[in-house]
């Protein structure tokens, strides 16, 4: 069982152009900012949006191929969809909601009960969706989608509508249910924690394009966009490398490894040191800047600095007070060349 996606679609201001493949029984997280086209990608796979160009193939079955004039309507695709707002049918009971897909596909209805038991909602079988809590509705939506045993399961921000307390519990439950399912799973999320918890592989989608794909560690270790850098909490620039020097917007950083041409450069905020006077020591990169903002995270603080090369430094709360950083003090910024990570763009 595998999924091959080459999806091109123009929808309003969104220009979707995605290529990706999923291996049999892989759990894929699609991570990206709002408006990146994550939900549209799921809708394309479910058949709710026909493609302009490209080709979708699931287990050798063509789902959509505009060039060949082939389009399998949503009701004939072996695809389950868990919507962000669940979309339970308000006029049906919980049990009837789960039975809906089974009846539509001509499968035995007894499975609905089994699924309700499995998600622990057996006693709410006769309740109306309006009477359910967010977490319960989420479980019903999951049971409804899984009951028909789809070969591809799509989950759109499955935990986004829940409060923090139930989210942690539901995440564990969801991980468990997803593990029992044998098909390919695609989870859309904008939460990196969720992506890391639920998925084998993360695909970063931005402005309709796949920017990065790999394990959570791979992606955060080598961000290729502002969005991922912010998620990982590192400083990211794009620049021109010449041996051990990288030019970034007029500034220059010294690195240890030699590179040539277009590169990405990252520096961990905690590797950035700040001084009142010009330091005279080993750091190869020293320049003067000014603090323009401080965000506190417990005893640590993230200081945004401008001048030379804009950078974020992580220091202790005490250091912020000592150097008068909150008041916008002028400081010397130092980064050891060994802390400058360079990789090709």
């Amino acid at each position: 069982m595998s999924l091959e996606v080459a999806a091109r679609l123009q929808l309003g201001s969104l220009d979707l152009d995605v290529e990706l493949t999923a291996k049999p029984s892989e759990v894929l997280a699609v991570l990206g900012p709002n408006g990146a086209g994550k939900t549209t990608l799921l809708r394309v796979l479910a058949g709710l949006e026909p493609l302009d160009g490209g080709r979708l193939v699931l287990d050798g079955t063509v789902l959509d191929d505009p060039d060949q004039g082939r389009f399998l309507p949503p009701e004939r695709r072996p695809v389950g969809f868990v919507f962000q707002d669940y979309l339970l049918f308000p006029h049906l009971t919980v049990l009837e909601n789960v039975e809906f897909g089974l009846r539509s596909r001509g499968l035995p209805r007894t499975r609905a009960r089994e699924w309700l038991t499995r998600v622990g909602l057996d006693d709410l079988a006769q309740a109306r969706p309006g009477a359910l809590s967010g977490g319960q509705a989420q479980r019903v939506a999951l049971a409804r989608a899984l009951a028909t045993e789809p070969r591809l399961l799509l989950l759109d921000e499955p935990l986004a509508a829940l409060d923090a307390t139930s989210r942690a519990q539901l995440r564990r439950e969801l991980t468990r249910h997803l593990a029992t399912f044998s098909g390919i799973r695609l989870v859309v999320t904008h939460d990196p924690v969720e992506a890391a918890a639920l998925a084998d592989r993360v695909v970063v989608l931005e402005a309709g394009r796949v920017l990065q794909s790999g394990s959570h560690q791979d992606i955060t270790a080598r961000p290729r966009s502002r969005y991922v850098a912010d998620l990982a909490g590192v400083n990211l620039w794009r620049g021109q490398a010449e041996d051990r020097q990288v030019r970034i917007d007029g500034a220059t950083l010294a690195a240890i490894e030699a590179h040539q041409g277009e590169v990405f450069v990252t520096v961990q905020p905690r590797a950035v040191a700040l001084f009142r006077n010009r330091p005279d020591g080993t750091p190869r990169n020293v320049w003067q800047g000014r603090a323009i903002g401080v965000d506190y995270l417990g005893e640590r603080a993230r200081v945004r600095l401008e001048g030379g090369l804009p950078i974020v430094a992580e220091v202790s709360r005490a250091a912020v007070d000592d150097l008068g950083l909150a008041a916008g003090a002028e400081v010397w910024i130092a980064v050891k060349a060994a802390e400058v990570e360079v990789y090709p763009a």
Binding site: P73, P74, E75, G80, F81, L87, H91, F100, G101, R144
Partner: protein, 269 residues
Amino acid sequence: MRASASARPRRERPPLGLALAGGLGAALFALPLLGLAVKAPWKDALRELGSPEGLEALRLSLVCSLSATVLALLLGVPLAWVQARVEFPGRSLLRALTTLPMVLPPVVGGVALLLAFGREGLLGRYLFDAFGIRLPFTTAGVILAEAFVAMPFLVITVEAGLRSMNRRLEEAARTLGAGRWRVLTRVTLPLVAPSIFSGALLSWSRALGEFGATITFAGNFPGRTQTLPLAVYLLLETRPEAAVMLSLVLVAISLAVLVGLRDRYLAAR
């Protein structure tokens, strides 16, 4: 010192001007009904109610208005669906056309029906020549006239229901394996059922009170086309007290249905 919290009124009073205007509005509806009730010849009530012409008109009114409602449902729900869901050139024109009978004087509607379905009418000519079907001045004609005037209320209400429902529920049904027909019967129609119900109720009320189009298109034949409103109008000339009693019957039926059904099914929403 008194606790100020206890002095706080539990409910806010409505603004005086608004309450006054609302009261006047209510009086506008209540006074004519009061007139009917006060001036009614209650002594002769039973006799007037049991009069054959009164009963006949009442029976005909119920049969025709209910048939017109069924006709409006059968044609109006699909029409509302087309207007709400299908994009085609001239859609706004069609929409205007289907609501036209609401603003058209019913008499004009009756004339228009005659020109279309009459013996020499656009379609009526062929209906008669080919099938021997004659609509004007028949009970079927009454039903057609009432449906013509009443259906816009159903179409408007159901179309609004279809437009305001969450269409993504239909998409969810598709992803669960339901084809378009199953989505329509199992998701769309049940979800707009309250709109269909209130539209049918409005249509029925309008059909029951229909006068102008009916008398123009179907005439005024007792037992065949003379509905309650027509009987009231005619009796006003000869036996006003009977007219008043029949009017009260009309009011009582309408009120009972509107209070009983409308509030029960619509207020809860």
